[in-house]
Homo-oligomer: 328 residues x 2
């Protein structure tokens, strides 16, 4: 595993360091043949560019800022994974990432070359400010308000819950509850909309008493279900807006003697690693957090390079496991 450098690649390919560097940076002005041959040699030798050296030669700050507004840290399995994905993509490009929690646009501008905006909400001032300052940025998550300000990557929330509800209605369920998160978040609204669309499609009424706030946490889900049970609400299925709320819901149901999925079917959203391991294994809408992170990173990289990029809606996929079953 001896370190292979650009020099060796150059020699092996019979060209100069300069040329190798050019193909490495996808700069044009390189003969197509030379390019492919160099590329070949690279993979053959298992060449991996040294980020430190690149930064040094490029002379920049080379840090990208992760701006979290408030406590995205909480409830965080999701953010942990996302952060890993961003980090690994950026670091392989020679950028280090830094978390900026206390939101300070001036600092962001001074200390980073570009920024990833996490958890943008309705009346968020960050997109405007960043745009005004001309700092390249991309948002993870989106809302109509800010959609035009900068490119964003988001998961297809609406389709996700729509699919979950359709799955449930096909199973014969009619009274389907929805566990929603904080009302200020975009994701919650969109998932709620997906729920409504799903009910509509099956010509089922949307009963507001069956839309519960689970605060996007396990306990939140647990308590919401307890309240519903205490209020003697009738339902045979729950489509939750997150896996964690679904976990909480299932615990509450089981604590009260209900069996999943025989008495009540439950679906989640996210497909966290723990969803498959849960008892019963959770039926859920998978969103590939890694893809989202990688996409966002790539978009920002392009953006910083001055290229125009367009936003992306990442598709979701319904994963059916043991927590949902036919209405009995």
């Amino acid at each position: 595993m001896a370190k292979v450098t650009i020099q060796e690649v150059a020699r092996a390919a019979g060209v100069s360091k300069g040329t190798v560097s050019r193909v490495l940076n996808a700069r044009d002005g390189v003969n197509t043949e030379t390019r492919t041959s160099v590329l070949d040699v690279m993979t053959q030798l298992g060449y991996v560019p040294d980020p430190g050296a690149r930064n040094l030669a490029r002379r920049g700050k080379h840090v990208i800022g992760l701006s979290l507004d408030g406590d995205e840290r909480r409830g965080n399995t999701y953010y942990g994974i996302l952060r890993d994905a961003l980090e690994s993509r950026f670091s392989s490009e020679g950028y280090s990432t830094r978390i900026f929690s206390g939101y300070d646009p001036a600092m962001l501008e001074a200390e980073s070359d570009g920024v990833i905006l996490l958890g943008v909400h309705l009346d968020d001032s960050r997109p405007n400010q960043l745009e005004a300052r001309g700092v390249p940025f991309v948002m993870v998550g989106h809302s109509l308000e800010h959609a035009e300000r900068a490119p964003w990557v988001d998961v297809d929330n609406i389709s996700g819950l729509f699919e979950a509800v359709r799955h449930l209605t096909k199973l014969g369920h009619k009274s389907i509850a929805h566990l929603t998160g904080a009302s200020t978040g975009q994701a919650s609204r969109q998932r709620l909309e997906g729920y409504r669309k799903g009910m509509l499609e099956a010509a089922l009424p949307v009963n507001n008493l069956l839309v519960w706030d689970g605060e996007f946490t396990e306990v939140g889900g647990y308590r919401a279900v307890r309240r519903a049970l205490a209020a003697k609400l009738e339902f045979s299925a729950i489509a939750a807006a997150s896996d964690e709320m679904a976990f909480g819901a299932i615990m509450a149901l089981e604590d009260e003697g209900f069996r999943i999925p025989w008495d009540v079917s439950v679906t989640g959203f996210d497909d966290l690693p723990s969803a498959a391991a849960f008892k019963p294994a959770l039926s859920t809408v998978r969103q590939d957090i890694n893809t989202i992170g990688t996409r966002a990173a790539e978009m920002l990289l392009q953006n910083m390079a001055g290229k125009k990029v367009s936003s992306a809606l990442v598709p979701v996929k319904l994963i059916v496991r043991a927590s949902s079953g036919a209405k009995t």
Copy 2:
């Protein structure tokens, strides 16, 4: 904020780059006067060494591995903060950090210069293996089994819970329950021991029915309290082994109509950022996660430099807020 380099420091101090580099790396063979004067110039100019350039010149891999066994990721506010602290300390030293989840000692050895071991448990094989391979490492958390293998940093768990219980007994509480975490973890055991010592000190009996497993999560705390209530257990205070379990406990209590702290006093452990914001503000044992991370990083750095370092027990501090009050 123009970038100041070692060259400029050298000129301003009237010495050569070499000398500046020497003081920068705390290498000896430098006149004390020169050293202090160089140091002065550095702070005056606001000099910050460029990590990339250092790595490049030092020719090493310069990555330190964070080994998490299994899913430390979960329940994670704690690990998020810890990781930030480690990262910032290491990166200012020119090291990048990488997470190694699937534990593979060979990989760890091949790809990192040193490793931080997180969540070491009783029958953990990592300390032995790492030691056998001669990889420098330090552990965050400790157990008697591994205490001699390598330096560790840990919070004073025993004193922490001891203080919490003493606080409660001084308030007049006699029936004090303890919410504990997973029994395999060291921290849980030590906190449980602190609880026992606290009860002992006040000549109070330890009733095993009042030691509840809250799985170190909010829901876990919530459910444990519900079970206790359903079993009609008598208690006027709860000393939890984590803030999150305490949050869950308070929610369960309030959902059943109890008022905190009038009907039941509750204390936590960690002092997460959310503890002060919680309603009611949580009395808890503060452990400074940042200090722990920074200490661990510093120890590893020393260790890698071949210096002998000794383990550290970081003190804790009881923070009294609104969730605990006199027994009525």
